[in-house]
């Protein structure tokens, strides 16, 4: 497998922050409430004191360490600090704010879990919770993640190629597309229970890939990041990672994979078909109608003064591996 080496625009060691932000953020927001209400207290209340003031925190979602083979090729890529990866999430099932999922998903139950692979296959496959991390050899993949909102991260995922899972189910000749579905459980996912919290999305979240995209060696079923199982807010217990496409293609907390003959509906395309296409390949030349996609802000550290705007690469820099999938296709029309 070919994976591109880092370019010179990648970041230096000094860009990596210590891991600390998530709890601080939470407390910071509470202090903001203070400012709004009383105007004066915020700057004088220390973080710990205000945490005590608001009572003890409920139990957090637990992750556990995984055994995997390291990604030897991409270790030089400057990673986004773990605390940022796990506190800056678009997972509207748990709220539309970037920090909402890390706050609202802590009680999410992922065990027991069932992921079924069905449709145009010779044999249906069902993976239970334990199977997700044991059925296939796990490997680390350090990928760039480019959000359609024009920010990006570098994340060390752990998982197995989707191709291996599909091979187990043996797709038939009719299997032209792969459709994915997120868990639907409004009791656990406040965004599914309330249109306000869930950003007016019709749930369950659905996504899809063409079969050749799904079989590409880069396409990963991820069960972990930074050496541990996935935090709830990152799509536990299993999610898709398609690094050459905008982040919304990488559907989280998957319960069903269906091989189908026709192009399946996808959530953001249903919501705004003018803005989000089925392919959603990262492409600096095709703008979102409301903002440019030519560049992106790489989320690292350094606060407001981080000079982190970099040029967006075609296929997010994975052209060598995937450009052939789109030969003779008009990518402006098939955005």
């Amino acid at each position: 497998m070919l994976i591109k080496l880092p370019k010179s625009n990648h970041l230096t060691e000094s860009d990596v922050t210590p891991e600390k932000i998530y709890t601080g953020r939470r407390i910071a927001l509470k202090q903001m409430g203070f400012v709004g209400a009383a105007g004066l207290l915020a700057s004088t209340v220390s973080s710990n004191a205000s945490a005590d003031f608001f009572g003890s925190e409920p139990e957090k979602f637990k992750t556990s360490s995984l055994t995997f083979t390291e990604d030897k090729i991409n270790q030089a890529l400057k990673k986004t600090p773990e605390q940022k990866v796990i506190s800056h999430n678009n997972f509207y099932e748990f709220g539309t704010g970037k920090n909402d999922p890390s706050e609202n998903a802590q009680q999410f139950k992922v065990n027991p879990w069932q992921l079924t692979i069905s449709g145009e296959v010779e044999s249906d496959v069902t993976l239970d919770y334990d199977d997700l991390t044991t059925a296939f050899a796990l490997e680390e993949r350090i990928y760039r993640m480019r959000c359609v909102e024009a920010w990006s991260m570098v994340i060390p995922w752990i998982g197995f190629p989707l191709a291996k899972l599909l091979a187990k189910a043996k797709p038939t000749s009719k299997a032209k597309y792969v459709a994915f579905e997120t868990l639907y459980d409004p009791k656990q996912m406040p965004g599914q229970a309330s249109r306000r919290l869930g950003g007016s999305v019709d749930y369950p979240y659905v996504e899809g890939l063409r079969i050749d995209e799904a079989m590409n060696p880069l396409t990963l079923m991820s069960v972990g990041l930074y050496g541990k199982t996935l935090p709830a807010q990152n799509g536990a217990p299993i999610r898709l990672v398609v690094p050459w496409k905008y982040g919304f293609k990488s559907i989280k907390s998957i319960v069903a994979i269906k091989l189908v003959e026709k192009m399946p509906p996808t959530t953001w395309n249903i919501l705004a078909s003018r803005e989000y296409g089925f392919y959603a390949n990262v492409n600096p030349e095709v703008d979102h109608p409301r903002w440019s996609q030519a560049s992106e802000r790489r989320i690292t550290s350094g606060g407001l003064f981080a000079r982190n705007r970099i040029e967006t690469q075609m296929f997010n820099g994975y052209g060598e591996e995937v450009a052939h999938l789109y030969k003779n296709m008009n990518l402006r029309r098939n955005f």
Partner: protein, 208 residues
């Protein structure tokens, strides 16, 4: 609340009340800004401080403009004419937040990529609209100086009626900027329309 309002009515002159309220406005506008940038500069404001400061200052400018435009109907309704004394201060703080909002976009989001900044302002209608609202607020702020106000005479009121246009532009800018979470901006559009509805007689007169 009753006790507090009674205290205000009986124990304080209107001048004292105005000074007191202005102090509250200064503190509740400035302290959040100081808090915001202190944490943002120290990378202590979530994973993406840039998004955080853009949203905070944008919604802050909108909130302050709404409060500014609540003042005169409130003063009329409560028969507290002295309240009008704080309207200009509130409006200027709304503009100040808008300045920071634009500065965040230029300096921290697009990071002085001037060609990109200009093309975004021209090509993206929601940014064009936001820029239009900013220019209106800028004009209103400049002309809020007493000297200029006097020399403008009748034209001053005409210009300052543009605050309602700015309000609606900001409401549309907010609605248009979100991906799918339209409920909050819809509520803001509703609030803005209420403020216009209160002034419907005045607005009708412009067109007659």
């Amino acid at each position: 609340m009753v006790a507090i309002s009674a205290f205000f009515r009986e124990k304080m002159s209107n001048k004292t009340k105005t000074i007191f309220l202005k102090l509250v406005i200064h503190l509740s506008s400035l302290l959040p800004l100081i808090w915001l940038y202190y944490h943002a500069f120290n990378d202590d404001l979530g994973a993406d401080p840039v998004e955080a400061v853009i949203h905070f200052t944008g919604i802050g400018a909108f909130n302050l403009l709404l409060v500014t435009l609540v003042v005169s109907p409130l003063a009329k309704w409560a028969k507290q004419g002295w309240l009008l004394q704080v309207r200009r201060l509130l409006g200027l703080y709304s503009f100040a937040y808008a300045v920071f909002h634009l500065l965040n976009f230029v300096a921290f989001d697009l990071q002085f990529a001037w060609r990109l900044i200009l093309s975004e302002i021209v090509k993206r209608p929601y940014i064009t609209i936001g820029m239009g609202a900013f220019i209106l607020l800028l004009l209103l702020s400049i002309t809020s100086v007493n000297k200029i106000r006097r020399t403008m005479g009748k034209r001053w009121q005409k210009l300052h009626n543009m605050s309602y246009v700015a309000l609606m532009l900001i409401a549309v800018h907010f609605y248009w900027s979100v991906k799918s979470e339209i409920i909050e901006p819809s509520i803001y559009i509703g609030l803005s329309l209420v403020l216009l509805a209160i002034r419907k007689n005045k607005i009708k007169r412009w067109f007659s």
